[in-house]
Symmetry: C2
Subunit: 111 residues, 2 copies
């Protein structure tokens, strides 16, 4: 059984709306992109495993949800300043980006 | 400064794709809805503060993201079996549902 999470633990997470500005290939990893995202008050670069599922032009300009205070990780030599959220189907064949269903101010908090 | 969250803490959260089946008024609270959602393998009822922002017909049929293992809370006498995620603008004037940007299997995990 999955453990339940108290609301105060949930509140520690900082999930914010960002916009994907640019998409580049990760220089050292075939399946990874580098995403430049705008969070309203700041820009960040993330490493994301979306290359098998999205073309750069399908991502650019899209609003997305960024987990901004995940412990930073260096992935194949590049620091990822957060994580982009996506839905992964049970057989892992589909990966679909999570977005606000209408445009909203960048930096809006997901709660 | 916001505390950073280790990846293993993030992994304890169970965020899943659901579909809103039905929307009813909460019997004891003016601003709250009761949402029936389908998570693929199960159905649940949630209490959600979306009434000022969405009409029932704007919600019905939509895919959404449900935090399924939040500690259950009883809100004005009704048990909420999870929380639906939405983006809230900084001045709190806009509340926009979070959805997969294309339809995906119900129960898909957000990661």
């Amino acid at each position: 059984m999955t453990e339940t999470i108290p609301f105060k633990e949930w509140q520690k997470l900082n999930l914010r709306i960002g916009k994907i500005l640019d998409v580049k290939d990760h220089p050292n990893a075939e399946k990874l992109y580098l995403l430049d995202v705008d969070l309203g008050t700041e820009k960040r670069t993330l490493v994301a495993g979306l290359k098998q599922y999205y073309k750069p032009e399908e991502l650019k300009g899209k609003q997305c949800v960024i987990f901004t205070n995940l412990e930073p990780a260096t992935i194949r030599g590049i620091k990822s300043e957060g994580m982009i959220l996506a839905a992964v189907s049970k057989d892992k064949s589909k990966v679909i980006l999570i977005s606000p269903e209408k445009e909203v101010d960048l930096g809006s908090k997901v709660e």
